[in-house]
Amino acid sequence: MSSAFYQILHDTHYRYASPVSLAQQLAHLWPRACPWQRNHEQQLLVSPQPCQRQDALDVFGNPLTRLVFERPHDELKVSARLQVEVLARPALDLQASPPWEEACTALRYSGQALLPGVLEATRFRFESPYVHLKQVFAEYAADCFSPGRPLLAAVDGLMQKIFAEFSFDAAATQVATPLLQVLEERRGVCQDFAHLMLACLRSMGLSARYVSGYLLTQPPPGQPRLIGADASHAWVSVFCPQQGWVDFDPTNNVRPALEHITLAWGRDFADVSPLRGVILGGGSHDPEVQVTVLPIPAI
């Protein structure tokens, strides 16, 4: 199979305890353009009608929709309707990548000019709002990064280690759970595992970015059901000076292929959260989020 087609429904519904008088929302709900994905149809339905709506690209190249509401409202519904085709990515020999230390050196300042790709990669090498760098993360990753090991093999090893040692527990964490706690308790959700893997890779001196997207919900016959269904999903992408960016999904111990639909990427969740806003009023409120990923016949 060289490509797969999906219909994706992503509904977010806020019911506010008290009316919201003013609101500004930023939505990362449209898939970005990438070589392994074609976006055939996309719609973003918003209720109530926003006073302003503006579509643009954010600084990392992701589609971003700005919504402004300047009238009192009791609820907010944002529904994304997407039809996406995911193409197969070229095969990759993990062992054929350069030693991981070489990648670190290439990313480190040396007083020499940087190639555009490397300069772009350095954006994703440092601390970001949810990913703080600490020695413990480097220590956790250390046994995967033996001297001279090919970079992608080492990253694959780290992915396996996280998958093996952490349990998926939707009740364990919230967005704001500190990574140190995740590391200590060895449980979390896809977002935590992605952030943890980013912290490990960046603490080692590598560039890695956070990818948000979706995962196929229907398990193919005879294969186990993948965790993360019916929700937004997240994984990481690591920069290799020779091969470019390569994706790894620590929640499922796979390299994303035809079942992962890419939405956006950034330094961490904060850069690409599906819906982020500032409201005035509203009282306490938790959104109801429903995600459905349906495989469909070729369009």
Partner: protein
Amino acid sequence: MPYCLATAEPAMPDLLADYPLTLGAYHELFDADGQVRPHWRLLLERLQRSSPAQLAQRQALLARQIQENGVTYNVYADPDGADRPWELDLLPNLIPAEEWQQIAAGVAQRAGLLNAVLADLYGPQQLLADGLLPAELVFGHNNYLWPCQGVQPPGGTYLHLYAVDLARAPDGRWWVTADRTQAPSGAGYALENRQIVSRAFPELYRDLRVQYLAGFFRTLQDTLARQAPAGSETPLVVLLTPGRFNESYFEHLYLARQLGYPLVEGSDLTVRDAKVYLKTLAGLRRVHAVLRRLDDDFCDPLELRTDSALGVPGLLEAVRQGNVLVANALGSGVLESPGLPGFLPAIAEKLLGEELLLPSVASWWCGEPPVLDKALEQLDELLVRASFPSQSFAPVFGRDLDEAQRAELAERLKARPYAYVAQALAQLSQAPVWQPEEGQLAPRAIGMRVFAVASAEGYRVMPGGLTRVAAEADAEVVSMQRGGASKDTWVLGERHAGGEPWQWLRPLGVADLVRSDPYLPSRVVENLYWFGRYSERCEDGARLLRIMLARYVDDDDDPQALQTALSLAESLGLLPDADSGELQQRLLEALLGEDWQGSLRGNLQRLQWVAGSVRGKLSQANWQALLELQREAQGLSSEQADFGELLDFLDRLLLSLAALSGFALDDMTRDDGWRFLMIGRCIERLQFLCDSLANFLTSSAAQDQSALEWLLELGNSSITYRTRYLASAQLIPVLDLLLLDEQNPHAVLFQVRTLLRSLARLGERFELPSERRLKHLEGQLARFSLASLENPLFGAASVQEVLDGLSGLLESISQASADISDRLGLRFFVHVDASQRTQSS
């Protein structure tokens, strides 16, 4: 001492009798041979010629002025007394004109260079691509704001205001120790120091021909006005402060006054249609430029730090669309890394084709392996600092470490080398400070903060600055935060044309008269409104608690009276419900509970908080009364509470609260803010009365005499009742007094009419729709006849029916006043049109 004989005053002792010339340091006052430098001679002569009494008088004048300005400073101080009075030395530091020219040229060059670096980092990032600046120092910095990438500020100006910290080495050269690029502080303090010190030495100030500071501030005004995207409108510039708890809040206040900008907090501004507006009582006013004193990442919770409550949501998008100028540009804090200066010489060469005029203190950014090794070798002579402000790492002097600590630090550096910078120790020069107790001059280490402002012709440097003085005689660090003092800085010689003194005391004429603040911020009015509501809420709550406590203490008096009071308090949310424990516990919780939402203590704290935010509108006496209240409430402990003591406290509390309402009536200017305060009181009282009466009338207590007694007490009308009727409480006269008596401020009808009158007056000023619903209810209430409760034709049931109907009317009035409160809030505080309320399907 023959020259003293002519005067009756005691002779001035030798000011320099005990002035140690520390070796190895540059002395501002003396040259290497121990001779007084020429530019200090006049000042020293004058000091020597004056009497100790005169100097003491000057010192007193200076202290008094700080005190007077400190009144403003302390006005907004937090109650814990965290604010210190400003420390200012009597003597200025003196710098001759020709020396200053070199400093100024160096500072102007550096400001221009840093501006160019910002333009590159938020633009093409060529410096990174060329290897002239490490990506680590930029992308690793928490104040490199990705959402600002590609944003073009008006005129290409990122740094409108720039400050640099300088220290003077033993050879007399000035070295840069730090750059301040995001929201530099200190220019206001420099101006304030000048105002005070120049008055202490008016003749010297004139004779030394000290250069004026005014031009600097005028340039700042000109630049912001010129670059603000105001089109054909007169630009409105505001000064954005993090608020009264910020350490340099005094300076924000002072600068805002001097520059003539409204001082605003984030919540005073709102973004609509990607334009920034100031919320004033009179409506939204377009803001064209924001001079900010708020840190980069706090400025917009929508796109930057989400946890910032101090910023303005949507500000960045307004900047991006070119609708507002923010000075300095958002993201300019990225240049404050101590790792940056080491790369500036090469960057100056590349971007300006010039050599850097001012050297920086030598530093080793550890991000390159050979540099890290070198820094580790010389750790003893170096100061290790974090590259980024987000790190929790206090600067460490290598020489202070023992072997184990050194090893630990080395490990830390090796783990993430790019996050650390090793710096050579800055050497500080020594300047004379006046010691009032000894009557002597003594040397102290100083550093100097110098300011530059963008102008149409490049950067202009303030001829002067904030000289900072070490706290101790042997201290090597100058820091206002560590208890240091400050000095005025006098640049001598040529005065520039057009530099007339800043108008501190412009004579005010008829044309300047102000009757109301044209920019009265909605926030202030909103806080006054809530000040009114909370003071009334505390009063009502205290009265009900007193009723319950008193009846609880005499429990054999009348159990039913207590019971109905308890159920009323429960239904009003002023008493935790019966499931939450024993009655005694519940009463204590209602009074003193820390965690329980409706407790009186909680409401007193809220009252205190809003009072603090409208501090400037309250008189000193009023404020004192509030502090007293707070202190007393804090002093009560629920563990060892004695009910007699608590009753006594409630009595005193009610007295103080009465005083508070007296202040409001008699003491405050009756402007729009005051009107909202009174409306707040009125709405709160009206709701409390209506809810209490409605609840009471439907309970079985309506005919119970002792219950009617406490109802009178709740309406603060017992005395009136007794004077009028000389009898025990009965339903009809009690209702007359609490419902319909137009002269009783605790009667519902009185409050309804007061509210209607206030709203009508507000409506005349601001075009409000007339209040039909409440007017209608007022008519119904006024027509209600108490006679319907007499001689009931159809027995007790019909009386209860009438009471139920009355209760329903009261509930409607309460609801109507709550709606009015919401509408006022949307219209005057939030500024949205509530008539366009969107109902979702």
